[in-house]
Every structure is written in C-alpha cells, then in structure tokens.
Amino acid sequence: MLQQISGSIAVANAVALCRPEVIPCYPITPQTHIVEHLSSLVKSGQLQDCTYENVESEFASMSFCIGASAAGARTYTATASQGLLYMMEAVYNASGLGLPIVMTLGNRAIGAPINIWNDHSDAMSVRDAGWIQLFVESNQQALDVHIQAFKLAEALSLPVMVNMDGFILTHAITRVDMPDQEQVDRFLPPFIPRQKLDTESPLSIGAMVGPDAFTEVRYLAHHKQKEALTIIEQQAEEFANIFGRDSGGLVKSYFAQESDIVFVAMGSVVGTMQDLINDLRSEGYSVGILSLRSFRPFPANAICNALKNAQQVIVFEKSFAVGMGGILASEIHMATQRYADIQGVQISSVIGGLGGRTITKQSLRKLVDKAKQGDLDAEVFMDLEANTVVRELKRQQDEQSSGPVAENILRDMGVVSASKTH
C-alpha cells in the first residue's frame, strides 16, 4: 500500500510486520521516532506478543537484546551516534555470541563537538564489530531492507545493522509502498534460533575461549560474513520475487560499468548523485554511481566487477579515520589492489557531509568536472572552509592558550557573535 510517511514511521511499521517479540529502546536523536512509534504499536495492541521496554541506557538496551535473543526472541532495537558508542561493548558481544539481533542505526555524527546531524562516523566506528552493516538510499529501501535484515540475521545467526541516514531519511516524508502482513509472512518465516536458552535442553552460551581455539572461533565469524555475501544476494532476489521491488543486495550500479567516472558512495547521498548524473549524462558526461548497500560483509568482488571499466573513481564518504583519511576509500583501494582486472584506475577520496553539512549537487558536480580534467586530488574535503582553518591554525601558533577549537571556529564563522573573553 502506498503511503506518504516519514522514514521513521515506515521503518517502525516494517519492523512491526516482522513480528518482533522483544524491543528494548533508549531515546537518541535521530532514531527516536522509530521506537516511539513501535511503543505505540505495542501499547495499543496493534503489535501483539511483543515486550517493549524503555530501558536506562543504550548499553542496557543492547544487553537486553542479547538476553532476549539468546532466549529465542526475534529482537529489535535502534540507536545512533553516541548511543552506539555507549553500547559498544555489547555490540561486539552480540556479534561474538552470534545473536541475530536487528538494529537500526539512524546515522549521526559523533562528538565532540556534539553534533546531532547526519554523517557516517557512528557506522564506521563499529565496522570491525562483526555485525552485518547494510546501507539504504531511500525510505523505501529502509523498510524493505529491515524485512530482509531479520531473515538474513536469522539465517546466519548474526546481528544485522541497518544504516539509515539520520534526518535525511528518518525525518523525510516520502512515498513508500508498505507491504502487507501476508507478503512479509511469506518472505520471513517464524524465528527458529540456532541457539537458545532452553530449560528442556540446557546450553551454556558465552564460555571463555583461550588461545587454543580463539582464532578458530574468530575465523568462523569471518567465514559467516563471507557466507552472507551469497545469502544477501539470494534474499534480495527472493524479496524482489515476492514484493516486486529491487531492494537490498550487495551493491547497486547506476551506469557504473559503462562510465569513465564513477562515484562510490553509501546511503542517501546516492539519491542526490542520481539526480546529478541524470543531468550530467544528458550533457554527455560519462559518469555513473556504485552504491554500496552492504558495507559488512565488504563485497570486494562485486565492487571491482562494477568498477572494472572506470578510469576515475570518486569514493565519497561521510566519515573518515582521523590521521588516516577515507575509510571506504582505503577499503576500495585494498579491493582493487587484489583484483587483477583493475589496473591503473585513479581513486580519489572525498570526505563530505560531515555533521550534517549539506551535500549539494553543485559541489558534487564540481568534483566530476575536476575529475574529468584530471585535477581531482587524492584526498578532498568537500566544501571545506579553508580560510577558517588557516585562521585557527594561526591563532594556535600565535597563542598557547588559544582556547577551544570548536568555539573559536564558530566565532570565526560568525555563528557565535560573542567577543573574545580574554
């Protein structure tokens, strides 16, 4: 059924269609509307046989999920940013224990400086946590991928994180096609846990493992993720058969194979890029996009296959490893190094959209133009106010007690008009 609703409501309704049994939550912008809506669905009786609990922290929330999932419940929660970091220990634990929890991450920057707006710093902070990490471009995909996430998690007995850009998707009201219960039931069978705390068949979960077997256990986690590369594709196909839509999968190519210049990106920015390349292609540019829908597992083969004809690759990402650079870019580098068909491709790493900075078509277009002229640097911070940075560096050089950086820059940009205090 077509609906014009916010991304958060769409996801909440999709999750409800998956018949979750336990949902703990803790509020944090920008995911809060999802769990608020689920709360209403449970409290009003629209979602039955489900225990919903507003707990005292994200750490508790993920821990609650761990207990619930280990006891055999289909379990869901959502968080973002600082909340993800606060639950971090439990995030690793959930995957280490192999518990098929589904969590929405309403992607948001990480402080300090505190910032509630969108980027991918939170998702990237857990890139080694052992979770499956899927990214969505639109609200339709968001709701579709959540349905697939449960099936995927339960097939692998691994937790799945659906990454959805905060505000840009969560708060955007768009048209979505909401499936009906019968369709979802057809796609997603009841949860049969691989391991379960059961008094009829007692089991110890979470034993200590020493050097003698730790490597094997960790290797198995890696092995599971590699299995997911196949299963994700299979499930996307199965999904398309039942729901009639292409949603999910490992990667999505928009003219990537037939273009000289190819953007690689994840999440909602792909939508803006699509709008851009439609313009550019009509102007005669050879430009495409490769959208990464699965970040973990990292679909190196699929990526390289899509990029094999590209001359210039612009890896656009909304986060970076401070002191190193683009995370996705370095992973793409690594993948292309291994892939024999790709030789001599130019890869530029573009960091943009940090802390909610608007990603405009115009700025993206400039990147393409520069790339076309062979002028695009290996590392670009898109729309960086270089002068502001230079002035702050000077202040720091001039004065040991130059004060807090964030506040200095705000003052410099005139956002804060207070006069200097000393």
Partner: protein, 548 residues
C-alpha cells in the same frame, strides 16, 4: 572449512566439565574415619554409647537395647546405679551440659523390661564354665559366655543373686524388681544359678562339675576395719554389713545419732539409708575436703539435701563412750591434686554418736583361694594377667577381687572381657582386643551445627519424699524426653549422616550412597580444600597427606 551448524560462539563441541579431573590439584585427601567418642572410651563396660544413642534418636529402642546389651546386660540397673563416667567426658559438656546418657540408658532398659525383650544364647560349644559369685562381674561374665555358646553355672554363697547390686546399693537407688528382672533374663538364657553355695576349693569344684574354665568373681566382701583407741560404748559397724542387714530387713542398726566415717559412695549410701531409716542425726566424717571426696558430687549433694551433715578434713582419733574425738586435718600442699589425705594439725574436737559406721573400704575375702596356691593374692587382690587369667591355667578372676576401679560398671566390663578371653582360651587362642581408635575431642568437631538446649533433667523426687522411704530417687524419662535427650548426642567421631560434607563440598566431589550407607569421596574431583573436614560437625573426616 565446512559450514558449522551451530553458531560459532558455542561450536567446537563444548563438553561437560566432568572431563576436567580437578582431583590432581590435591595435596591432602579427606577420608572418612570413625573416631572413638569420649563416652565410649570412658565407659568401663565398653558400651558403644554413641551407637545406641544414635538408634534411640531414631526411636529404634529395641535396636538401641540390643546394641547396648551387647556390652552390658543390665541397662535398667546401670541406668540407675552407674556413676556414668561417660557423661563426665561428654564433649557436649563443654557446650552446655553433657548428654544425659544414663537416663537414656535407663529408659532403654525400661523399654527392654516393658517389652520383655530377651537375650539369646549362642550356638552350643559344648564347653562348660563355672562362675563363682553372682555379683555384677559374675553375672556379666555368665551372660557373655552364654552368648558365646558356653554352658555356664554360677555359684553364690548368698541366698539371692546380685552381689553388691543387691547388698551394697540401697533400694532407693535400685528398686529390686528391676534388678530381679534383669538377672532373671540372664537366667532365661540358660545360665544355671546355684545359690547358698559357697565354694571353698575351686579346683575341686571345677573337677567335680567338669568345668573347662572358672571365673572367680567373688568381690571384696571383707570390710576394712580400724581399731580406734579409747573405750567405745557404741556399736562400730561396717557399711557393708549395715546395708546388707537392711536389705535383708533384719534389725535396723541405724538408730539415734549416726556417724559415718568415710568419703566414698558407700558412706553416702549409708548416710542416706540412715536418714530413710529414721536416724535422728546423720554426720559423715571425711578425711578429704569435699572436692576430693571419692563419693560422686551428686551423691554428696543429695545426701546434704536430705539432711546429712558433712565434716570434712577430720580424722577419728579416739572413741570414748559416746564421744568421738576428731583431729582437724589440712590439705597437704604437695598433694593437692587428688587422692591425698589431709595432714594432721593437732587441733582436736569432739562429737557424740549412738552408732559409728565405718565406710572406709572393703578387701578381698580370700578364704576360698587357699586351696589353689597358683592363684596369687597380693595387696588383698588376686593377681591376673591382662587376659584376667590367674596364675592357675583356666582360672580367671574379675571384678572387685582383682586390682581395678571398684564399680558395678567396671565389673560388667570385666565380665565381658573375661568371657572373650575364655572363649579364645577355650579355642586355644589368645584374645586380642581390637585397637582403639583415636578419641575425638571437641576441637576436631564443629559444634555450631548443633542446637543448644539444656539437658532434660530427670524428674527428681522432692527431697522430703526421699527421706521418708526407699522410693526411687530418680524417675523415668518419658519417651519424648528420652528421644530429645538422645538427640542431644553429637555423635562425636562417628558420621550421623547430617549431609554436611555432601552439601558443602564446593566441587560436588562427594557421593551420597543413601540412607544408612554414608558417603564416598570422588577423588577425581576433590581438590582437597578441607572444608568437609572443617565443617564435619562430629569430626568423622580426617585429612591425610597424599602420597606423591
């Protein structure tokens, strides 16, 4: 790598911790032991007190009676007259008050009489044993011999059996129907009693009767006498003949002012009997201070309660007419530890009396031994080896006639011992008593686990009632109280299946074998922490070093 069907967190076949044999950590191992409870150790009859108390706790009175009478055929008697050294050593005494073993024994004995439980003779061996003396030692010897299957005939010069039990212990302490019943029960086993029959030549009687062995259990029937200086005008009697006369209901010699000389239990018996017989005034004169008198404190206490006077640290030096001269003594400083007699001070005082009873001891009457020269008498007692055998092969001697502590209980113990010795001797062997286990002291136990409660006090007759007759001074425990009292036993040194070791082992390294079967250590898992030993309430576990 094949696909795992279990999630990787629990793959690679988690096994049971049973695979991990933690027993290898151990340097000490616990073992179950039976230690000797101090009561058992102290019992001159060698009763397994802890054992029969345990059965009594379960209200298995017949079982308790059977176990008790394995060592002592007179529970109803001993439950009254035993001075219960067991209670003095009872570990419980260090916590609150000792278990009233004697009163439970009496209760058990009463159960035996009430239900008319009988003894059973052993399978006939064809051997015949002659027992001289139907006192406690002789009767006990006869009983044990009969249990072992030997034919026994007892000869006694008196008209009734029982010896000192009848002629030395007043009725108020031992009602005669109880005594008679328990003696009769021994007779019922097939023991022949020949009364009013003194033996004057042991060897001849043995040959005439074709006896394979002889037990001399003739007691110490001759009273010690002192000749006081002075011209006494009053009767000077001995305790034994006084008590015998009263038992025989002959003329009462205890009239007027009675002075009893002596500090032992016989002195108390005479004094208390005198009060009951209506004596005007009863004074006990003891050479020891009260604490060192050989009489049991409760006897002294009860005598005083009944109205007897007690003059301690005094010696009779002279009796003139009715006036007795006493010299005050003082405690010797070198000998303040016990049996010392006082040292003369030269201070004199006098009292008047109508009769003096000497209760200063008895010695062996060796008249019947003169025909058997190999039986050596030394210091008024018959010399015996550690198997109670005299110098004459096949002739054994026991009880007050041999060097030992003179008590009914000791006599009973002798009876048991001699029976075993004779049994072995008749089979051409030497009796080897089983080695005694280590005695368990309170420091080897953990008494916290026992509830504390005072001993059930046997209902005392009011002292006024006591004075006026020979009614029994101590009453019976009822069943509830007997059970209650029995359950105060801490089962020192012997597992009573409290499940503590089983329950508190942090390594579940103990198997409970089921009721009555005890427990077993699983040494595969026992880490040797020693908690079971530390927390065994009764000290029935020991830690021993592992052989490495």
């Amino acid at each position: 790598m094949t696909v795992q069907h279990k999630p990787f967190a629990i793959t690679l076949d988690v096994g049971s911790s049973h695979l991990n044999k933690t027993g290898s950590w151990r340097s000490m191992r616990p073992v179950y032991v039976d230690r000797l409870p101090p009561c058992n150790k102290a019992c001159p009859s060698g009763e397994n007190i802890q054992g029969w108390l345990s059965l009594a706790e379960e209200k298995d009175y017949q079982g308790a009676w059977r176990l008790l009478t394995r060592d002592n055929p007179f529970p109803a008697v001993m439950g009254r007259v035993c001075y219960h050294p067991c209670e003095n050593t009872c570990n419980r005494g260090q916590l609150d008050v000792p278990v009233g073993i004697n009163s439970v024994e009496r209760f058990i004995g009463e159960q035996g009489l009430t239900h008319n439980w009988q003894f059973h003779a052993g399978e006939d061996t064809g051997k015949k044993v002659m027992v001289i003396g139907a006192g406690p030692a002789g009767l006990a010897a006869a009983y044990h011999l009969r249990r072992l299957g030997h034919q026994v005939t007892i000869f006694d010069a008196a008209e009734k059996p029982g010896g000192m039990m009848r002629y030395g212990i007043p009725k108020y302490r031992l009602p005669r129907e109880k005594l008679n019943a328990e003696i009769y029960r021994i007779e019922q086993m097939g023991v022949t009693l020949v009364l009013n029959h003194a033996i004057d030549n042991i060897e001849r009687s043995q040959q005439e009767g074709n006896f394979d062995a002889v037990v001399v259990a003739i007691g110490a029937q001759k009273s010690t006498h002192i000749d006081f200086s002075g011209q006494s005008s009053i009767p000077i009697l001995d305790a034994l003949s006084v008590l015998r006369a009263i038992e025989m209901e002959k003329r009462n010699p205890l009239i007027g002012r009675v002075v009893v000389y002596g500090g032992g239990n016989s002195a108390m018996d005479v004094a208390r009997t005198a009060i009951r017989m209506g004596a005007q005034d009863v004074t006990v004169i003891s050479r020891q201070e009260e604490a060192h008198m050989s009489a049991h404190p409760f006897e002294i206490k009860e005598a005083l309660e009944e109205g007897a006077q007690l003059l301690c640290l005094r010696a009779i030096t002279e009796i003139n007419g009715q006036v007795i001269t006493l010299e005050r003594l003082k405690t010797s400083e070198e000998h303040h530890s016990g049996h010392s007699h006082g040292v003369a001070t030269g201070e004199l005082e006098t009292i008047s009396a109508d009769v003096v009873v000497l209760a200063i001891g008895q010695v062996l009457n060796d008249d019947c031994l003169s025909a058997t020269p190999k039986i050596v008498v030394k210091n008024h007692t018959i010399e015996v080896n550690n198997m109670m055998q005299t110098g004459q092969d096949g002739i054994f001697a026991i009880g007050d006639a041999v060097p030992s502590q003179r008590s009914v209980t000791t006599a009973l113990g002798h009876g048991k011992k001699v029976a075993r010795a004779i049994h072995a001797w008749l089979n051409g062997k030497t009796y080897q008593p089983a080695p005694q286990n280590e005695v368990v002291t309170l420091d080897k136990m953990e008494p916290w686990y026992y509830s504390d409660a005072p001993r059930t006090v046997q209902p005392h007759l009011e002292s006024m009632r006591r004075k006026n007759g020979f009614a029994e001074v101590l009453g019976d425990l009822d069943q509830d109280h007997a059970t209650y009292e029995a359950r105060r036993c801490m089962s020192c040194g012997n597992c009573f299946e409290c499940d503590n070791c089983y329950g508190i082992c942090p390594d579940n390294a103990i198997t409970k074998l089921g009721s009555g079967k005890g427990f077993e250590f699983k040494y595969d898992y026992c880490k040797g922490c020693g908690m079971c030993e530390a927390e065994c309430p009764c000290g029935a576990i020991a830690m021993v070093t592992e052989d490495i």
